[in-house]
Amino acid sequence: MIDTILEITPAHYTILSAALFSIGVVGVLVRRNIIIIFMAIELMLNAVNINLVAHARQLENMVGQVFVVFIIAVAAAEAAVGLGIILAFFRNKETVNIDEMNVMRW
């Protein structure tokens, strides 16, 4: 038991990644502010990154880290476009509450 606590295996990192991912899921499901929802999505992507890096280090295979580089690039692109969409929507209807973002045309 103490051995499991003291010896850090990739399973520990996977549990950390799962906990961080579920915190992100809570953020996406509970909050009504669209910007907080986007930030919770970034938390979920970070959780996946932690998992990939931990297993890449265990298997001594750099492909996991290359995948993380691509995930970071895609997350940056998604954040830019998503925030542009939020700004464009906010300019038409002065709200960031997703319950009020329920019409396609203003």
């Binding site: 950390l16 915190i23 992100g24 809570v26 910007i35 280090r57 580089v69 830019a80 476009v81």
Partner: protein, 171 residues
């Protein structure tokens, strides 16, 4: 021993900062907690001896994406609170229950995969011709994963053009 202490301290910091991100009332506070959580994840990458990824995390995530979020938060700065905690449309307990279900599923996957007999060991990667973290990632990016690398650069170009078009005054 150092890795143990570092892992537990960092995971406590990461998880508590993440909880504060999703529960803060003020959006700017959420952004600040998010950047602190990203920095802790970068330190975790250093503990995992992925130094290149740690620097990329600080530069791109903490230095680029969070700044973008801060700009947007300041631009849509509403005087009133968009979160009414008495809002009847807010399904707080349902969201928590569903997230708990996700966590249980993930825990089940972790327990199942670690309780099975280990399958045939994954063939380790062929010895890379270069040493060092950055060099090995660079080698892979430019030989085996050249096409995804180029596609990612096209994706970033498309995202840049799209963000500029979306944020203009008149479409």
């Amino acid at each position: 021993m150092g890795e143990t202490i570092a892992f537990y301290v960092l995971s406590f910091l990461i998880l508590s900062l993440a909880i504060m991100v999703v529960t803060a009332r003020n959006t700017v506070h959420s952004v600040i907690f998010l950047v602190m959580s990203f920095l802790c994840v970068a330190v975790l990458y250093v503990v995992l001896r992925a130094e290149f990824l740690a620097v990329i995390q600080v530069l791109v995530y903490a230095g680029g994406i969070v700044v973008l979020y801060l700009f947007v938060v300041m631009l849509v700065n509403l005087s009133g609170e968009p979160e009414a905690h008495e809002d009847p449309r807010r399904l707080g307990l349902t969201g928590l229950a569903l997230a708990g279900a996700v966590l249980l599923e993930l825990a089940g996957i972790v327990v199942y995969s670690y309780s099975r007999e280990p399958s045939a060991p994954v063939a380790g990667a062929a010895a890379s011709p270069v040493q060092g973290n950055v060099e090995q990632i660079g080698w892979l990016l430019y030989t085996d994963y050249l096409i995804p690398f180029e596609v990612a650069s096209v994706l970033l170009l498309v995202a840049m053009v799209g963000a500029i078009v979306l944020a203009r005054r008149e479409l």
